[in-house]
Every structure is written in C-alpha cells, then in structure tokens.
C-alpha cells in the first residue's frame, strides 16, 4: 500500500458539480448581494435543492450520507465564488444542524433536524458574548431552572444565521449550577431579541446579529446534551467547524490565485504581460505553494475526521495556516490587480474585504496557536 494523494473519483465529480452550480447559479448575483447587503434566501434554497445542507447527515434524516470531505469540497467551491454564501452553508451545517445531530436526543432530532438537513430552515449557534469570545469559558449568560422550564438571561454577540427569515433555532451556551450547558431556543421565543444586523467590513451577504436573552423561557426538553457538558460539547463542534472554515479559506485562496494568474497573463506593462515580470511571477509562485499547502492540510484534517480519529491538532493547524494564507492571497491578488483590485467592479476587492474574518471566527489565529502549542506539550 503506497500513500495516495488523489481524492476519490466520486468526490472529484461532485466538486465539478458544485463548481458548475456556483458558476451558473451564484456567480451572476454575488456582487449584487454584497452591494445590497442582501441575505440571499434564493441561494440557500438552491443549495438546499442540491442537498448541500444535508450532505454529511445520514439518509435517515434526509441527508446525503456523505463524508466530511464532501462537505469541505462543497464549501470550498461555493467559497471560491462567494465567501458570504460559503459561510452561510458552513455555519448552517456546522453550527446549526451539527449540534442537534451530535448531541440531541431522538425526540430533539426528530423535531429540529429534518428542516435543518433539507435546508428549509437554518440554525445558529451562540457561544460568543460581548464580554467573552476567545475566553468562551468566562461567559456570563445564565440559565435558571423554574419548575419544568429554564429561564435564560444574557447576551450573545456576532451570531451567524441568527436572524434570517428561515432561522428555526439558536442554540446557546449558558451557565447552570451543573456548569456550562447548551439550550435550544426556537426562533420567535418571547425574550429572545435578535438585534439589528451589524454593519460589517465583509461577508455583507451573510446574516449576523447580536442576540439578547431577557427572561427567555424554554421547556426543560430544550436542554441539549448533558448538563455541565456544554463546554466540552461546543469545543468539539468548533473542531469540526474549523475544518469547514479552512475549506472556506481554501476557496478564497484558490479564487485569488486563479483570478491573479489570468490577469497577470492579460495585463501588459512595459511591453509585456505583468506575469512576465519576475516580481509578479514569484508572487504567483508563492501563492500556488500556499494553495497547495492549504489544500493538503484541509483535506487531511477532513480525512482524519472521516476516519473517526482525533482532529484537534489537525483542525487547528489547517484553520491557522489556510486562513492566514487566504488573507495573504487577497492582499497579493489586490496588488497584482493594481488600481482595478481596489475597485468594487472586481471580485478581488470583495475577497479582500471578506477574508479578514477568516482569521477571527471559530477561534482566532492566536487561539489556534495556543491549541497547537498545547499539543506540543507547552
């Protein structure tokens, strides 16, 4: 048995299908959605038709029975066309459906999973608070038992997919006497206030809100997973999510490489294509290496997950390297495009604005370095 770097043929076929889908159905609209800060329910519906929200879930729930690698390829190809639509998919699967699938009781799964898996509904996960992001363990949102119910008070910040017209649930972490626990709050529950959308640097077509919990009451059966296991559970959800963000960043870096390469062969200065000037050629060579490394780290992390192996270190390494490569790639691409790269007519400008969050969400680069250095025994 020798080492094999080829992806399975079916995965390559699937990648092409998603790439064609993104080219035909999404790319004509993404600049407009970005400009209007429009959350594209139409894109969600189209991705739902293609089965993308259910890819990794068993057929029993209406899913595609695919592996994590297939999800990564889908996020990469969508992300190559638009990062906002890519995060909507990534968060919908990883933060919306995945916690219910992994930690829900049979009854909770029956209640919430089918719509999340089909893409008819979106779920959100609220971990970050105004006073607790990287240090999520210091969160102050509380859940108190009251008869059969739980009453939650606190505030969550920057919650993706929390305020769309089809958001069905927001899962939140909250302190209880047993420790941090997770609760599922159905959209429209009195006391859950979805704040107006943030004005963001990028990801304009993605949905992000602050969420206030003001005496928000949910029935006892809305506790997700064991009480006190909430911290442990969300860390494991984040590990999966980091591989997905790595795939999103890979799409961004690949888009930058392809756009820059094409431009460098067309745009002429001093009598030759700019790609024939060594400074530009070398910048593209470095970009190609970064994309190759990013792909290898991302696919390997996905492979480890599919093997049921420990992914903590691999997910952190993939997320750290690939998101930093993506940010660099957007900077290099914008430089190669010159003035045109700073103008919104070029997708390069959009990718430039969209990339920075990749180094922040689902654990900042510093947090990934902490995870990796701890893994080294430091």
């Amino acid at each position: 048995m020798t080492i094999n770097y080829d992806l399975p043929e079916e995965h390559e076929v699937f990648r092409k299908v998603v790439a064609e889908f993104a080219r035909a159905e999404l790319s004509p609209h993404v600049a407009d959605w970005d400009e209007r800060h429009h959350f594209p329910l139409e894109a969600v519906a189209a991705m739902a038709d293609l089965g993308l929200f259910g890819l990794i879930f068993p057929e029993e729930w209406g899913g595609g029975g695919g592996d994590f690698l297939s999800l990564c390829l889908a996020i990469e190809e969508i992300g190559k066309v638009d990062q906002s639509v890519g995060i909507t998919l990534s968060a919908g699967v990883g933060l919306g459906a995945n916690p219910i699938y992994r930690f829900g009781t049979r009854a909770q799964q029956e209640r919430w999973l089918p719509d999340l898996v089909s893409g008819a509904a979106l779920g959100a996960f609220g971990l970050t608070e105004p006073g607790a992001g990287s240090d999520a363990g210091s969160s102050t949102t509380r859940a108190e038992p009251d008869g059969e119910d739980w009453v939650l008070n606190g505030a969550k910040a920057f919650i993706t997919n929390s305020g769309t017209a089809i958001t069905s649930i927001v899962t939140v972490t909250a302190r209880t006497d047993a420790g941090i626990s997770n609760f599922v709050i159905p959209a429209g529950t009195p006391g859950m206030i979805i704040e107006p959308a943030y004005r963001k640097l990028g990801w304009h077509a993605s949905d992000t809100h602050g969420v206030i919990l003001d005496d928000c009451r949910v029935p006892g059966d809305h506790l997700l997973g064991e009480p006190g296991k909430g911290f442990h559970n969300f860390l494991s959800i984040l590990d999966d999510g980091r591989i997905a963000i790595s795939a999103l960043a890979l799409g961004c870096a690949r888009a930058c490489l392809e756009m820059s390469l094409e431009y460098a062969q067309q745009r002429e200065t001093f009598g030759k294509p700019i790609g024939s000037h060594q400074a530009i050629a070398f910048a593209l060579a470095d970009l190609a290496v970064a994309v190759e490394n990013s792909a290898n780290l991302t696919y390997k992390a996905a492979w480890l997950k599919d093997q049921g192996r420990d992914i903590g270190q691999a997910a952190a390494m993939a997320k750290l390297y690939t998101t930093e490569a993506a940010v660099t790639a957007t900077r290099v691409a914008t430089q190669i495009f010159g003035g045109a790269g700073f103008i919104e007519d070029s997708p390069v400008a959009r990718f430039y604005r969209d990339a920075k969050i990749l180094e922040i969400g689902e654990g900042t680069s510093e947090i990934q370095r902490m995870v990796i250095s701890r893994g080294l025994g430091l």
């Binding site: 079916e10 076929v13 299908v17 889908f21 057929e59 595609g64 695919g66």
Partner: protein, 258 residues
C-alpha cells in the same frame, strides 16, 4: 412508463479539442463527459417517468474506448441502468452504423415506451441519428421536441419549427429528439453520484448486437475537408440623430422581416 435515453459522451468542451488530420474527425481518445445536449433528454425522461408515477429511465451510449464517465453523470441524475456499446472496430462509424448500434442497444433492453435522443450532438452535429434509429426500430419519430406530455397512450409534443411550433400527437411507443433548453437539467446530488457507482452498465460489442462494425473503411460518409469559418464582418454603426428609427425600419424592410 419506461424511457430509454441515448447519451453521447464527448470530449470536454472546456478543454480545447483536436482534429485527427487523417480523418478530419474530433479525437475522442481521452476522458469523455456527458454531452450537454443529452442532459436535457435525461432530465425530460426523469420528469416523464415521475409524472407517470412509475417506471424507469435507462441510458444507452456508444463509445470506442469503453469510457463511462458521461454515462455515470446520467446515472447520477437518476437513470437506473445503462448499455454501453464499446468496440474499437466502431471507431469512425458513420451516422447509419451508429443508429444501428443504438437501435440494437434499445432492443437489448427490451424496448421502451419512449426513446429520447438529442437533436444533434455538440461535437459532431450530424443530426440524423435519431430518425435513422426510429426507422430501424419501426417507431414513429417526432423531431425538435420543445415540450412533451404523455396523455393516455399518446404523446403530445410541441415541435420547434422555423416559424413557431407544431402541436403533434403521436402514439406510443415512439422516438423523439429534444432540443436544448427544453427542461432545466438537474445537478446530480452527492448521493446520486455515489449511487451511480454501483448502477449496472452492460457492455456490449457490435457483434453482440449483430451489427457489422465497418469502422473508417466502410463508412458511407466522410469528412472531405475542414475549413476555418469566415470571420464575421463588422456591423454598420449609425449615430443616433433622433431619426435613427427610420434607418432600423429600412434595414428590417430590406431583410423582408416586416
């Protein structure tokens, strides 16, 4: 309702093709993909079977090199099985031999209520195979189908013509050729792609079907010459002086379209 769709597997139009200088034919020795113009037939077949509430879609294809990637796409869309006629001796076959082979493949499947083909392939543009097949199979044939419905035992077809549409009714079983854009072909799902791996594709030779594969030597048709299409002439540019509509009317009048 059972439907058989003829699917051609062609070189990927995204990567530039090459002509074989000795035959003036497109080289088809690499990886082949499903001809987009056949994806409409596959989609239409799936929709008709769905509307009929039962039955299945099968696909047939002829490829000289045993290539199945394009067929797998059709199977991933929802077709249940296929027949691939693959025989090196078939390389260079003319349209009539192709029609004989495909008609033979239809018969191996035991026929169907409806056979669907594209009006013409994107890499050959002969546009004669469907009618030849219909003749060989003794089926009525409707060409250039733009929309198709099954009503009882009959097929109702809107047929694209130069002026508009013909509404045609035709008894089943029948053979139709469908135009591009009749339906929106679905994207294969991941589940479909995985399932396609294990769907049966029966591989046959020309001899299995009782067809004499004449290849290059026996083809009744040859491509004599290939030439560059003439570059289009630049159009006339008219500055609008407020009265330009008269020029447009004059121009259209000259073309005898108004």
């Amino acid at each position: 309702m059972n439907v058989i769709v003829c699917v051609k597997q062609i070189p990927d139009p995204a990567s530039p093709g090459e002509l074989d200088p000795s035959t003036n034919q497109l080289k088809r020795d690499g990886k082949l993909i499903l001809d987009e113009s056949d994806s409409y037939g596959v989609e239409m077949a799936l929709q008709l079977v769905d509307a009929a509430g039962g039955g299945e879609v099968s696909i047939i294809s002829m490829a000289p090199n045993g290539e199945m990637s394009g067929m797998r796409t059709a199977l991933a869309m929802g077709a249940v099985k296929g027949v691939l006629v693959s025989d090196p001796a078939l390389a260079g076959s003319d349209a009539l031999t192709t029609a004989k082979v495909l008609a033979g493949a239809v018969q191996t499947l035991g026929g169907a209520d409806l056979v669907i083909a594209g009006t013409e392939s994107s890499d050959g543009y002969t546009g004669t195979v469907p009618e030849q097949m219909a003749e060989l199979l003794g089926l009525p044939s409707v060409t250039f189908a733009k929309s198709v419905k099954v009503d009882g035992g009959a097929l109702k077809v809107s047929r694209q013509t130069e002026e508009g549409f013909d509404e045609v009714t035709c008894p089943l079983p029948a053979l139709i050729s469908v135009t591009a854009g009749v339906v929106e072909p679905r994207y294969p799902s991941f589940k479909g792609i995985m399932a396609a791996k294990s769907k049966p594709v029966d591989t046959k030779t020309a001899a299995d079907l009782g067809v004499t594969a004449a290849g290059w030597a026996g083809a009744q048709q040859a491509i004599v010459e290939v030439a560059q299409a003439a570059a289009r002439q630049a159009g006339e540019v008219i500055e609008d002086d407020g009265e330009t509509f008269n020029k447009i009317v004059e121009f259209l009048d000259g073309l005898k379209v108004i």
